[in-house]
């Protein structure tokens, strides 16, 4: 068997591989186009107009990971964004025009995000981009948006300490998620905290905030541990929790992705039950509960601004519309709802400005966004001049059906503070992009 693998054969098998991959792609590609057929109808209805009139649609970009690690979470945010845009299109469009979406795949790779953002802005000339999930991807695209002076709507709760003129943050700042939940835990569950997180920027910043807050309010941190992203070996962490908190205590969990599954499955095996060791998580929402398994999570807590179980007419409408479009078995969660808010706040700003936000009118649309109020599924929200939005904060307990029983919610929406007041470096700083007479309206001290 020493036959040569010659050039001819190489060409032959090369073309075979190419053919097969095209085939696979064609088949796989069948799914999104067909599953989004209602959306496709509206876009196709719009595109002939675009071809003839050249500018009868408003192009917006959606930039999320559709492949790779983060696709797990980001795909459903894309679905929710598409739903919001479809609703606007069906109600007659925006400024009399249909909205056309251009989806790009960031592939869970941060340089790719920057590349695709540049492509959307330069080649497709979209007027706004909705996208990103991880802080790393946001930090990667930020220079592009600042260089091009363009707008990004970012729908995920994050660690704060950022306030860019070119980003609207529609997820929670730390004081709208982490801080109220720590206060609630101190009051209801105990003073001793064990902090666990994945080893990257969000958990480390979040834990700095929690430690400063606990110190100020009389709680103690008995231990702190970080797991490499994606790692599932949590045995050492569980042993340490048990020796640090022999009689039970609060576990504050900022892990992301797969590690969560391992943590909850193995905590249950090791006999750390929610009545003695309640876990408060900040990145577990309805979708994750489904993937981890309700029996492991029942009785544990999560802090968000939105749960599918929020009782309001707006939420009923949103959940029904989402299920009708994407299937009865789907659930809605906080980042998805934030994406829905993003599109609607943007729409209202465009309507008020009377301009779509092409490079010449971008400033006008941005200014029009300030103070926009929207009756969101989570309740009333307002866009502030610091580019974050005021939101209600809720704490939910996982119940049998995998949804959350809301056990606490703030009486009124909480105003966002992008610069954290518990961290010494940023104490006293605020952000206000309408402020004049300061060097950097994104970070200055009130005098």
């Amino acid at each position: 068997m020493t036959r040569q693998f010659g050039r001819r054969k190489f060409l032959l098998y090369g073309s075979a591989t190419l053919g097969t991959s095209i085939l696979l792609k064609a088949c796989a590609g069948g799914s999104p186009t067909a599953s989004e057929s209602p959306a496709a109808d509206s876009t196709t209805a719009a595109s002939p107009a675009a071809a003839s009139g050249g500018g009868d649609t408003i192009k917006v970009g959606i930039l999320h990971s559709l492949s790779g690690t983060m696709a797990i979470s980001e795909k459903s945010v894309v679905d929710s964004t598409q739903l919001a845009i479809e609703e606007i299109n069906q109600a007659g469009g925006l400024l009399g025009k249909q909205i056309e979406t251009i989806e790009e795949d960031g592939a869970s790779d941060w340089p790719t995000f920057a590349e695709k953002a540049r492509k959307l802005i330069e080649e497709d000339q979209v007027v706004v981009i909705f996208g990103c999930w991880t802080s790393a991807s946001r930090k990667a695209v930020l220079p592009v948006f600042e260089e091009k002076n363009h707008m990004l709507y970012y729908p995920v709760q994050y660690e704060g300490q950022e306030c860019s003129k070119n980003i609207f943050y529609t997820g929670a700042a730390p004081n709208q998620q982490i801080e109220p939940s720590v206060d609630w835990l101190l009051e209801e569950k105990g003073k001793e905290f064990y902090l666990v997180g994945s080893d990257y920027v969000f958990p480390r910043t979040a834990n700095t905030i929690i430690k400063a807050q606990l110190e100020a309010k009389g709680g103690t941190v008995v231990g702190e541990d970080y797991l490499p992203l994606g790692s599932t070996e949590v045995t050492p962490i569980i042993s340490k929790i048990r020796s640090a908190l022999p009689n039970g205590g609060v576990i504050y969990n900022t892990m992301n992705g797969d590690s969560n599954v391992a943590l909850f499955k193995q905590m249950q095996g090791a006999g750390l039950t929610p009545d003695k060791y309640p876990v408060m998580s900040v990145s577990i929402a309805e979708e994750e509960v489904k993937a981890i398994g309700t029996e492991f999570l029942k009785g544990h807590y999560a802090a968000w601004n939105y749960f599918q179980t929020v009782e309001s007419p707006e939420n009923t409408k949103y959940v029904e519309a989402f299920k009708a479009k994407f299937g009865e078995d789907r659930v809605t969660n906080d980042p998805m709802e934030a994406a829905y808010i993003s599109v609607n706040i943007w729409k209202q700003a465009v309507e008020q400005a009377g301009e779509t936000g092409t490079p010449t009118s971008l400033e006008k649309v941005r200014a029009a966004a300030y103070g926009q109020k929207f009756a969101a599924p989570e309740g009333p929200v307002t866009m502030n001049t610091n580019h974050h939005i005021s939101k209600t904060v809720r704490i939910g307990e996982v119940r049998d059906d995998g949804l959350f029983e809301i056990v606490y919610s703030t009486p009124a929406p909480v105003d966002p503070l992008p610069w954290n007041q518990f961290v010494t470096d940023t104490q006293g700083f605020t952000c206000d992009w309408t402020k004049t007479g300061v060097d950097n309206p994104g970070k200055f001290k009130e005098t």
Binding site: S239, N260, G269
Partner: protein
């Protein structure tokens, strides 16, 4: 105190046994055959997804059955992963023996394909693939019967390939137009899927203040059984003898009439099947998703390299050593031992988080490999370099 030590030993061993089970298949594929199989993690992932499917099938059967799905799942995971390994060996790897770099790239490509496959697999894709395979391989088989096959070979392959690809694609699009969502909905999607251990594996055995999780015990037992089964297979069966002889001296074995190609395929399938079992086991501990395999691939190579390529006993000792070291450093037991010597205690406290413990373990491995480049149990003899 006694229970604390017992708990420590148990935890160290259980961390090690997960590593060992994951690395066992690789020890055969990489250790015995010398194939750097980057798709090992994805074979584990296939095993985990098989577990998910078996679990759902048993849910349909009702109460008494759901409790025992896991045994069936282990067997199915082995079979599915072994079949996939067989396809991989026959289709890709056998052309690349003796060329480690090409094997590395090719198997890495396979791993990416498999990951995307579980994300986007749906009925349309399966139907398209089946139609394509039937037409292409069926057509090839028919054409091969012609006496002038060698002359028209290239021409025939080109035409068949284009035709069957086009027909498969057409079938796929017709299907997706006709049945819409019912056939285009991905089976699994990009989301993680939920595998739950049967009721009797939930919880744990309480010993004093501690509780030994049943799932961990189950994995330890499974690991021991797998190791015993492999030793028995390699040392007591005719095929095991052939595998050992081929790995020791391929040319001599071929001269003596051993069908080396069959042996290669069998060995690779065996290694892949073990990866499937490992996938089934880790689905009880962690998540099951397209990326499941990625989380284990580095660890498994680490175990095999430390243990020494070519010796199963090396893999066993290597896995246990790494698991126990990782656990001891990560929990800060060392830091507690050295409380009297302040700088040492500080040093170990710094490394006493799970992610820093990994750093320390890697550091130790690098140092270890400086002194023992061939691992704990290097192969000896004249054929080592052959």
């Amino acid at each position: 105190m006694f229970t604390a030590i017992l708990d420590g030993i148990f935890n160290g061993l259980s961390v090690g046994s997960v590593l060992l089970l994951a690395a066992l298949g690789l020890a055969i594929v990489f250790g015995l055959m010398g194939v750097i199989n980057m798709a090992h993690g994805e074979l584990m992932m296939l095993g985990a997804y098989t577990t998910f499917l078996v679990q759902n099938a048993f849910k349909l059967l009702g109460e008494p059955w759901t409790n025992f799905y896991i045994f069936f799942a282990v067997i199915m995971a082995f079979i599915v992963a072994a079949l996939m390994g067989l396809v991989l060996e026959r289709g890709v790897i056998r052309y690349l023996y003796g060329r480690p770099l090409e094997t590395l790239l090719a198997t890495w490509g396979v791993s990416l394909i498999l990951q995307q496959f579980v994300r986007s697999v749906n009925w349309v894709m399966i139907a398209g693939l089946i139609v394509f395979c039937l037409l292409y391989f069926g057509g090839l088989w028919a054409v091969k019967k012609r006496p002038d096959f060698e002359r028209i070979r290239h021409w025939a392959i080109t035409v068949l390939l284009t035709l069957s690809a086009a027909i498969a694609w057409a079938v796929g699009s017709v299907l997706s137009q006709t049945y819409k969502l019912a056939v285009t909905k991905p089976w699994f999607g990009a989301q993680n899927v939920d595998v739950t251990a049967p009721k009797w594996l939930l919880g744990g055995l309480p010993i004093g203040n501690y509780q030994l999780p049943y799932t961990r015990m189950f994995i330890m037992v499974l690991t021991v059984l797998c190791v015993l089964a492999i030793y028995w297979f390699l040392n007591k069966t005719p095929w095991g003898l052939r595998i050992r002889s081929v790995t020791q001296n391929r040319n001599m074995s071929a001269c003596l009439g051993i069908p080396t190609q069959k042996v290669d395929a069998l060995t690779f399938a065996l290694g892949s099947g073990l990866a499937g079992i490992a996938g089934c086991a880790v689905s009880l501990l962690g998540s099951v998703g397209p990326n499941t395999g990625q989380n284990y691939i580095v660890n498994t190579f680490m175990v095999v390299v430390v243990g020494g390529v070519g010796k199963l006993v090396g893999t066993i000792v290597g896995a246990m050593a790494i698991g126990i070291t990782d656990y001891i450093i990560g929990t800060g037991i060392l830091a507690n031992l050295f409380t009297s010597i302040q700088p040492l205690a500080d040093f170990f406290t710094f490394f006493a988080t799970t992610s820093m413990a990994k750093v320390m373990v890697f550091l130790l491995i690098v140092i270890f490999l400086q002194f023992r480049p061939a691992g704990l149990f290097p192969q000896k003899g004249r054929t080592v370099d052959a």
